[in-house]
Symmetry: C2
Subunit: 264 residues, 2 copies
């Protein structure tokens, strides 16, 4: 499972403060701790700073690249921000994200093709919310077509079917799980990814809900996730899920994770 | 999900000591705490006392029935012990367990029919270990036939496909999960149950493995489990799994469990 470390996000108060005060050590600790914990990509997001996003994200990227060798996941709703960041990264990055909204497709897909990046594609259009497995798979199909048409290998596509809060729709997790399974079957070579935190919005003990959702998503074939790898309960649950689902030969990764003190 | 509370088992040292010293309060606390936590049946087992099992189990049953109203799960490998206990229970019990071994079938099935009890049936014969989903389902089919032939309603049958340690076979959990799904599809009306602890034998952080296995088993259709309902992390994981799998309308059971302090 490819892990995208989510901690460097300006929607977190400590990160926003570190950005405005140019507190490089804090950002670097966040980057390094995620790398040590097992992240494959470090997500970088300054999306709450409207109008100043380019300046701040550039600083974050330079700061993170000073301390870790991992590739970055450039996370912005604004195609012009993504375009400005691509020349700055040392390793082939991931772009987070495209949707079916035409302006994002038109601006970002050529960049994905040109820079040979990976790209996260959300099952979302400007008009409607896809809250059933059927609607999510339909949007995934359209995303696959757009990506293919742009000459991008399907191996670089990470479809996020999105999960909505259980508190407002008690079938929302089930629909997303079904969508993951169907997407992985219908489009061989394509990857799926998912942020976990939405599912528990409005419920108590959110981390329990998030990690339980992850177990089922792994079982349905999810092969990437956007999460906090330094959360040892979550990381332990991930490793246990992979082992139980038959994806950990001789239980070696689970046992190694335990010996390294990464599981709880 | 029907929960069979597993704590009163003579293989646990504190229980064995309470039995030999006739420490009724300890046994009653174990019974009451499981009832409060959400057990539907209280398993009672004195199987380690060979030759004295009847005497000890009788004492346990009387002691437990003084303090809780729940039905019991009479747990013994010895049909004559089960036969001796049946007249003592106040509520229609569950019998734990039959296998495909002829002497157990011949002795116990008539008792199940006569006393109209529920019965746990293990996918196990005297000759071979069923370690693939196919072999487990084959044994389940034979168990269903035997139970039907004895005139027992399938609604009273709880098939345990058994799970073997991942540490010795990294596909063992997967085979059991597949068996659960297939048994629930092939035999409508039949229930499945499972003990959780075997899966983690020989691995570190066993409780993490057990509860992660439970999440996947619930998703595949498991509708009963033999577990410790006073383990709040396990119980919380169970409630979260039911909610995520779409089996908790409006998330009401999850939220109620949280409010009652039963989830962690």
């Amino acid at each position: 499972v490819l892990i995208i470390g989510e901690r460097i996000n300006a929607s977190r108060k400590s990160i926003a403060e570190a950005i405005t005060s140019r507190n490089a050590p804090l950002i670097q600790i966040e980057a390094k701790s995620q790398a040590v914990a097992g992240a494959d990509y470090i997500d970088v997001n300054a999306g709450t700073f409207v109008g100043e996003e380019i300046k701040h994200l550039q600083w974050i990227i330079e700061t993170v690249q000073e301390i870790v060798d991992l590739p970055l996941c450039i996370d912005s709703p604004d195609p012009s921000v993504i375009k400005a960041m691509l020349p700055l990264v040392k390793k082939s990055p991931m772009i987070n994200s495209i949707t079916l909204e035409p302006f994002r497709l038109e601006e970002i897909l050529p960049l994905v093709a040109k820079y040979k990046t990976k790209v996260i594609a959300l099952c979302q259009s400007g008009e409607s919310i896809a809250d059933t497995a059927e609607a999510k798979v339909k949007m995934a199909r359209q995303l696959v077509e757009k990506v293919k048409a742009a000459g991008i290998p399907l191996d670089d596509l990470y479809i996020d079917p999105l999960v909505y809060p259980l508190a407002t729709n008690d079938r929302s997790a089930l629909e997303t799980l079904d969508a993951i399974e169907k997407i992985m079957k219908e489009f061989p070579g394509v990857h799926t990814t998912c942020g976990l935190t939405n599912v528990s919005y409005g419920l108590p003990n959110r981390k329990l809900v998030n990690r339980t959702f992850l177990v089922l998503a792994i079982d349905r074939g999810l092969d990437s996730a956007i999460l906090d790898p330094t959360d040892k309960q979550l990381f332990g649950t991930l490793k246990a899920a992979l082992m139980i689902a038959g994806k950990d030969e001789f239980c070696m990764e689970y046992i190694a994770g335990f010996r390294e003190g990464k599981l709880e």
